[in-house]
């Protein structure tokens, strides 16, 4: 971290460097906490039994709807299941929904964006208009339309969230491809006699994709929020499953008497979003710094 600080204070325009240093100084703790939290999640995904000795589906009617205590850190739900255990065991399902949906959205976006960015005026025009039309649909609405047609399930949840986020990414990819394709090094590649396919694969794509790394990090948190919003509305994973969104849906009926059933799964989602946002912003600044140096 100190290496970065000295690097930025040495480079060029003073006000910019100063503001970068200030940002780093301010948020240095953020990325570290994010990584710690994400490591905790990795443990929860790989072997949840390390973190809790309760079983996520073990029913205990004698202890239903108990407030958080030493025995049950996050309290218990209406069937006496330990909420901490459910949150820990639910991590893998919820995170995979977020990751797969983001990956799907990105894949669609890259295809549309590259075709738009490299295609002729007409193709680009058509793709831009299509993206604009899709943009008029709020992502949640697109997802609802999708769920109406194909019914509520985890699969349609993932597909609808992924497709809902694609237009935003696609605009970004398209802009990047257009910016990159006119760069001198692409021209140089043409002059060297490289084939179009090779230029696309080795020169344009890697350079255009870099900002997507940041967006992807940010997008995972967002996808989890959308997916859980749909689950909260009862359109996602079915309740007994230990999945954060499904837990939110199940806890909705007990909001007034047992806030912990909604609070903790939701808090996990907030923490994931914060962690990925903080990490994404940190990555963005690192990449930006490298860009200005080059």
């Amino acid at each position: 971290m100190t290496a970065i600080d000295s690097h930025t204070s040495l480079s060029g325009v003073s006000s910019r460097a100063a503001s970068t240093t200030r940002l780093l100084g301010r948020l240095r703790i953020g990325p570290i906490l994010s990584v710690v939290f994400l490591l905790f999640l990795v443990v929860a995904v790989v072997d949840p039994s390390i973190l809790t000795h309760y079983q996520p589906l073990a029913v205990d009617p004698a202890h239903s709807l108990e407030a958080p205590s030493v025995a049950h850190w996050f309290g218990t739900d209406q069937s006496g299941r330990d909420i901490f255990a459910r949150v820990v065991y639910g991590a893998s399902a919820s995170l995979s929904i977020g990751v797969i949906a983001t990956a799907l959205g990105m894949a669609v976006a890259v295809i549309l964006g590259v075709i738009g960015g490299l295609g002729g005026r007409f193709v680009d025009g058509v793709i831009s208009r299509v993206l604009e039309i899709l943009f008029a649909f709020p992502a949640l609405l697109l997802a609802l339309l999708f769920v109406t047609i194909f019914g509520a399930s985890v699969t349609s949840l993932i597909i609808s969230v992924g497709l809902g986020s694609a237009p935003g990414y696609a605009r970004m990819v398209r802009g990047q491809v257009i910016a990159v394709k006119n760069a001198p090094y692409v021209e140089a590649s043409y002059v060297l006699g490289h084939s179009r396919a090779r230029i696309l694969r080795q020169t344009i794509l890697p350079n255009a994709m870099r900002p997507l790394l940041v967006l992807g990090t940010l997008g995972i948190g967002q996808s989890i929020v959308w997916a859980s919003s749909l689950s909260f509305l009862g359109l996602g994973a079915a309740p007994p499953a230990p999945e954060w969104g499904a837990m939110l849906a199940a806890g909705r009926d007990f909001i007034s008497s047992a806030w912990w059933g909604e609070f903790f799964p939701g808090a996990m989602i907030v923490l994931v979003t914060l962690a990925t946002t903080s990490l994404g912003r940190y990555l963005a600044r690192r990449l930006e710094g490298r860009g200005s140096e080059a």
Binding site: S15, E132, P138, L141, L144, R171, S229, L235
Partner: protein
């Protein structure tokens, strides 16, 4: 964007390179006034044109959706299989929408029906879709409108008070913005309900139609949006305070607060304005969640009911209304843009 649903912290920068877009105009242009094509009013005209295109596209997407539904679309439009429509009704709907004709004719007839305002019959609400929308649109517009105003007030206050202040104040401001932008609406709503309605008892949990009942739902929608808008305003405000005109205004003896309010603010609100057009869409998404959580009447609740009961006509109707709202909001935003930025007027 997206966002909805709440959006990520970098949502605005996502489009920065996209100079051709009509709706998500370049967010960086506020301070420089460069890279904006054509005059201000031409921009408005272009938005209207794109808006018509968007509406047509929305109608097409929903047409595809209706046809992708398993089962007979005529039965779906007549109220769905669950409502057991009579043979005569199904035949009437088939004739009205031309479901017995080729797909192209169906499509044209569908568009014709939409232009005439015929949206079909809602099985979940047992009345005409047009009537459902007429009934539920005002509570939703009231909710989203007050949330937008509230978000603006919070965002501007946060920028005015915390940008370029002492380091602790600035960090606190920007930290809170990141935090609030990351809050899912359902969760924030639950926390607000728990604290203000159940624990403190200041506000009833389901406050009905009055102003008091509007406070918690509007805050629930406004806080994440404010966090997200003020991140954009903050950057722009920060850049504006570095401009030479700020130094010259200070040199003329204007107070720091005066410079902030009279000069820098005008620049800082421009990207936020563009974002507002986008925000309308995301607010309506949010309204689905907030209306469910606070048991309020509105478009969101109607839409959710339609989706869970596979009530296609109502889903299509609400979808089109949302697209229309989005288009109108963007036209209004563009007009505001011309008012807020005099540079756009002189060039046209």
């Amino acid at each position: 964007m997206t966002a909805t649903a709440t959006a990520t912290a970098t949502e605005p920068t996502r489009f920065e390179d996209d100079l051709d877009s009509d709706f998500s105009a370049d967010f960086s242009a506020g301070a420089t006034g460069a890279n904006r094509r054509g005059g201000g009013w031409r921009r408005v005209a272009r938005t209207v044109g794109t808006g018509i295109l968007v509406l047509w596209g929305a109608a097409t997407v929903t047409f595809i959706a209706v046809n992708a539904m398993p089962g007979n679309p005529a039965i779906a439009m007549a109220g769905g299989a669950g409502s057991h429509p009579s043979k005569a009704l199904v035949a009437a709907v088939t004739a009205q929408y031309g479901f017995d004709k080729p797909l192209v004719i169906q499509y044209l007839m569908y568009l014709l029906q939409l232009v005439q305002g015929h949206l079909g019959f809602s099985s979940s609400q047992k009345m005409q879709v047009v009537d459902v929308i007429a009934q539920s649109i005002w509570p939703t517009l009231l909710l989203t409108g007050s949330a937008l105003v509230l978000a603006w007030v919070i965002a501007i206050a946060s920028s005015l008070l915390t940008v370029r202040r002492r380091r602790a104040v600035s960090s606190l401001g920007s930290g809170l913005e990141v935090l609030s932008a990351a809050l899912p609406q359902y969760w924030l709503g639950i926390v607000l309900l728990e604290v203000f309605a159940f624990s403190l008892g200041w506000i009833p949990a389901t406050g009905g139609t009055g102003v008091v009942g509007l406070i918690l739902p509007a805050l629930t929608l406004a806080i994440p949006l404010a966090g997200f808008m003020s991140q954009v305003t903050r950057d722009e405000f920060d850049a504006a305070l570095e401009q030479p005109f700020v130094v010259s205004a200070r040199a003329r003896g204007m107070s720091d607060g005066g410079v902030r309010v009279r000069h820098a603010l005008r620049h800082a609100i421009l990207p936020g304005l563009t974002l507002s057009g986008w925000a309308i869409g995301s607010l309506i998404s949010g309204a689905v969640i907030v209306e469910t959580l606070f048991s309020r009447n509105g478009l969101g609740g109607a839409l959710l009911g339609a989706v869970t009961q596979q009530d296609m006509p109502l889903t299509v109707g609400v979808t089109l209304i949302v697209a229309l709202t989005y288009v109108i909001a963007n036209i209004v935003v563009d007009a505001f843009y011309v008012i807020a930025d005099p540079r756009l007027r002189s060039r046209s």
